[in-house]
């Protein structure tokens, strides 16, 4: 879950000037795979937004007269065991992944950042409590924690987002806590405190610019991880409930026909892999472009 977390380099940055933006964009788009990643994400987002226009059939109604059809001009990737058009379900699955990916990351990033800021700023007992709870949450594998929470909350889009958000909070909290602690020790923060500036505001104003870069990288890779975890939940049957279209549940529904109609399994699984791959690429590109010291080493 947090395997990509490297200790963020702490350095103060000034507000990006135009030349810096240019440098950033140049480095960012230097790698061809980053361009591929951005393109994939764009296509995916557009597919999710315009799903009703792109889908050729209703993805939710069963059609028992046309079950398990091979691909044809009518059904681009054939039909599933309930006669639903696989291509259309794939398109609507993009929408589910989009909701889960962005929804989860927004919720968990906000809560995680606030907790981390509080832990680092208040220190002492508050820090100890918050960070021990985070350690405890990290004691679970992400999928198993999400499984436990989904069991408590029940399935469905909203509950899956809540479960995954709670499971991914620790990453942000740790990052923000570390940044806050290191900023707190800086002379300019002490100096501001000395001239009577309200210290919490000072903290927030200094922590965010410092934490911005590693956070951006973390959020990007986290979207990919969350989509992967949601696919796992839906695959098991605990995530998005039928007839909702999720790539994970489509893949698990196709397993009986793996031998004869392999695309029922492979099409949705590949969709997941491609989107997650894109986010990993873009995340790495961002890290390289934002932190010149790491360029090329990872």
């Amino acid at each position: 879950m947090n395997e990509n977390l490297t200790t963020p380099a702490v350095e103060t940055i000034s507000a990006p000037r135009v030349s810096e933006w240019r440098r950033f964009l140049r480095v960012f788009f230097q790698r061809k795979l980053v361009i591929v990643g951005v393109a994939v994400i764009l296509i995916w987002v557009l597919m999710a937004i315009f799903a009703p226009l792109i889908a050729t059939h209703d993805p939710f109604t069963n059609n028992m007269k046309e079950v398990l059809q091979p691909p044809s001009s009518q059904h681009l990737i054939g039909t599933d065991n309930l006669g639903r058009d696989v291509f259309s379900r794939l398109v609507y699955g993009a929408r589910t992944a989009l909701y889960v990916g962005f929804g989860t990351v927004i919720v968990s990033a906000i809560i995680g950042m606030i907790l981390g800021l509080l832990a680092g700023y208040l220190g002492g007992v508050v820090n100890a409590i918050i960070m021990r709870v985070m350690d405890a949450l990290m004691g679970f594998p992400m999928l198993i924690l999400a499984l436990l929470l989904a069991a408590v909350l029940g399935g469905g889009l909203q509950n899956v987002i809540i479960a995954l958000a709670i499971a991914t909070i620790p990453g942000y909290t740790r990052l923000m806590c570390a940044e806050t602690l290191s900023v707190r020790e800086n002379e300019y923060v002490m100096a501001q405190r000395a001239i009577g500036s309200k210290s919490f505001r000072t903290m927030v104003r200094h922590v965010f610019p410092n934490a911005f870069q590693p956070l951006l990288v973390l959020i990007t890779t986290m979207i990919g991880n969350v989509i992967l975890a949601e696919a796992g939940l839906s695959f098991i049957g605990i995530g998005i409930q039928p007839p909702g279209a999720a790539w994970g549940s489509m893949a698990s529904a196709g397993i009986r026909d793996l031998g004869t109609l392999p695309w029922l399994c492979f099409a949705p699984s590949l969709a997941i892999a491609v989107v997650v791959f894109a986010f990993n690429m873009v995340g790495d590109g961002l890290r390289d472009a934002l932190d010149p010291k790491l360029r090329g080493t990872l």
Partner: protein
Amino acid sequence: MTTYIIRRVLWGIVVLFIVSLIVFFSLRLIPGDPVTIWAGQQAGSGGGMSEEMLDQLRVKYGLDKPVPIQYLNWVKGIFQGDLGESIRYKDDVGEILKQRLPVTLVLGLVATVISTVLGIFFGLLAAIRRGKWIDTLVTVLSYIGLCIPVFLAAFILMYVFALKLGWLPFIGYELPWNDFGKSLKQGVMPIICLAVTPLAVTARQMRSSVLEVNNMDYVRTAWSKGLRERVVVTRHVLKNSLIPVITLLGISIGIIFGGSVIVEQVFNIPGMGRMLVDGIFQRDYVIIQGGTLVIAFMIVVVNLIVDISYGWFDPRIRYE
């Protein structure tokens, strides 16, 4: 070193305590107690139960007491090696675990060893041949390993080796001490599936770690002393770059346990992962809380060992 170890162990205990709180109380948020849920499911299959009988069951399982007392009883039971009794199976959770845990552990352990050894090897190889074809290959493969869902790996293997070539059995798993040959054949695909992601993670971390160590002064000194490549790589580079990779062990084991939930589902393997999923579908609290606690316990212990060995290998950490 002793204070360091004591501090880490105490932290581990605190974390485990919080883990047990999370597991126990989150499950109590589900509406209806286990007896009601079980009775509801029984009623569905025809066997109605009177309120009196249910109350008797509640007393039997200690569910008539307030939730904090239930928690204390549960914890007390754990210290006596008793994880509670599943109402559904009328069986001790400890007994169920005794059958399920070895399956997951055998597969997971082999996957951990494979992913760690191969990850270190390929990461090192990629880094010392930086920019060459082998580096590109390892980098690309580890990217792919990071982003494919566990079940995609399973589909590919099943499609090729079980369905098309017929070399490996499709589903099921037998423990090696029951039937070694069968176990080996059945184990290949699940183990590969479990190992893919941690292998990719380890290889990536190892590669970047080696590249970092390569820039160190002592490595340049070793080269300029005229040492042979093999000596520089094994004595100087490998040893020092292994330290960050050790930390990954805890993460790898987490990924493997998470993956086992899916792998055991796909290959129909009667292990911990299947047990948890079945427990969730049947809303069997006792099973879920016992299973998750055991998994979290193992991960916390592994992280503890990693932390301690980390301090052992690298004295700088000890005196933080």
